[in-house]
Symmetry: C2
Subunit: 335 residues, 2 copies
């Protein structure tokens, strides 16, 4: 992004022009991007559209102190891309709305969009619209993403059946651990510390994997792990009218350098931490041979099995199956 | 909307269930609504999609003191519907994101959605998604609307040519006048006072007119009057690389009960007030015979003509043409 002049953004028209430049260029199906009353896009024949929108609120999803503006923009877009990934969609277009706190300075705005547009570009997603306003309170971003999926191929939460294997792509709990380290102002000495902080600030949505699982009809159901495994697994089982059993020792939690106590705390981060943006998906036993050990460099872990509904959601720990309570992030559970 | 129980919304899942119920039912092209990671919609063959998103920020677009929650929801959806109308699109689906101030009580939320969903229903628009979060600061809503338009028929800002007639559908300035009356706590004694307050609180997007103008290829360009005639006309002429001349005495400003001074103030509201959500469109002279005097009950006014670019945007008042400065609402012009 070019920092041409500090008197950019003195009017909304100039801001829109600047933004249009950052997201200029052609894209398949794009007829009209930023600059008119609305964007104009043309879907491919035989494709359905996946549409999702996600808020990123200062003080809830990020803090001005802990999160650099590039990370705020990156994470805001990652939230929506991850939803499209969970449906098996190929993300195509994004709209970014930003209600800016009056405390925010212009370099923050540019860095926010650098992060947002940077991640979008990496997934070949075009910024085609949005809105901006000044806000007396917190900064609030809302990102809408449109993706394409061939008719009838979308992955839903509701397709899991008893006997299906529960898989997760990549490690869990790193994002929550990274947030903890950021809060404690731990300087990133070790590679694993650095990795956790990076996982928190710059999560990578698994769009390629989602498309792979959908097109090859491998997964029976999928959801992205945005609010924590315990909460999101419950959402998947509820939608599928099923139960589930997972094994604690198969959950790819962050490695514990110390003793058992530390290990339990790290397992809790993997179960309830949230913001991992990894895909949780279920696979019928007969299709398990189609699941690769790794997708690109991401390890696929088999962590449990879909059960009958009456079993609820259980976790097997130290040889005992106990109910797994949904303790992940819930925006409407206050205090 | 049913007020079943005050312990609704104790968790996000319950809230989502409640919202899904409010927006339940089938719609053409809707494959999956609220409840999964994303909505799934299917476009009609040969149609393009109009996509827009608009913020409604407490303290900027509404205030908790002056605007009842139904009006906040109605206006938030109206902003996006009006953008789709300006492109000649038929609105189909909406996503509503709401970052709620912690000061807000549950009845406010329900009334907000009653207003939002009520207007959407009136335009046969289905709520298919959104997001919610609690916000330490102001309430912020962001509404995304998807509309359909036959390929190549969308109305753009950029199509106006010198000689085209400039038209506006309905009266201007009522919304700004209504806001003024609300601020002054004037009780709505006269019908015109009531009408102005109503125009402010419950603006009616002109989607039917937009579709009419696009399908019959009447308009060469269009924009919706969200930020005031002086600002939005400039946007249209800039996109069209043209100038414009409008006549003050043709602008359908609120009627002045008193003298000239009052009339000038009311004209200023019509020129710069904003939030009218009426369509401003241009029509080649040869197509003017196709413009009806009224569309449904809305009077169409011819207020000026597109000129060459070098003329800029002028207003003719008392026989003299003077430059019309863009003085409408601009979110990035502070103070």
């Amino acid at each position: 992004l070019a920092y041409n002049s500090m008197d950019l953004f003195s009017t909304e028209i100039q801001f829109t022009d600047w933004l249009a430049k950052q997201s200029a260029g052609k894209a398949r199906g794009l007829r009209l991007g930023i600059g008119d009353d609305a964007a104009l896009v043309e879907p491919r024949r035989g494709f359905q559209w996946v549409v999702t929108t996600d808020l990123s609120v200062e003080g809830v999803h990020f803090s001005a102190r802990l999160h650099p503006p590039e990370a705020v923009g990156h994470r805001a877009v990652a939230r929506s891309l991850s939803d499209v990934a969970a449906m098996g969609g190929e993300p195509r277009f994004a709209l970014v709305s930003l209600a800016l706190s009056r405390r925010v300075k212009r370099p923050w705005i540019k860095a926010f969009f650098a992060g947002a547009i940077g991640l979008a570009r990496g997934h070949r997603v075009k910024l085609v619209g949005g809105d901006t306003a000044l806000n007396a309170g917190q900064t609030v971003a809302d990102v809408t993403v449109l993706g394409e999926v061939p008719r009838g191929e979308a992955l839903l939460r509701s397709g899991a059946r008893p006997g299906d294997q529960i898989c997760v792509a990549g490690e869990l709990g790193d994002s929550a651990l990274g947030l903890r380290l950021l809060k404690a102002s731990v300087s990133p000495r070790s590679p694993s510390t650095r990795e956790a902080v990076r996982a928190h600030l710059y999560p990578e949505p698994q769009c390629g994997l989602g498309v792979f699982l959908a097109r090859r009809r491998i997964a029976s159901a999928a959801i992205d792990l945005s609010d924590g495994l315990s909460t999101d697994l419950r959402r998947l089982t509820q939608a599928s009218k099923a139960g589930a059993r997972i094994w604690a020792d198969r959950i790819p939690a962050p490695a514990a350098p110390a003793g058992d106590e530390e290990r339990d705390a790290l397992l809790a981060l993997a179960l309830h931490g949230g913001e991992d943006y990894k895909l949780l998906f279920t696979v019928p036993l007969s299709r398990m041979e189609l699941v690769p050990k790794r997708f690109n460099r991401t390890v696929i872990y088999r962590i449990g099995e879909i059960e009958h509904r009456r079993l609820g959601v259980q976790i097997v720990q130290n040889g005992k199956a106990v109910p797994l309570k949904a303790q992940g992030y819930d925006h409407f559970r206050i205090g």
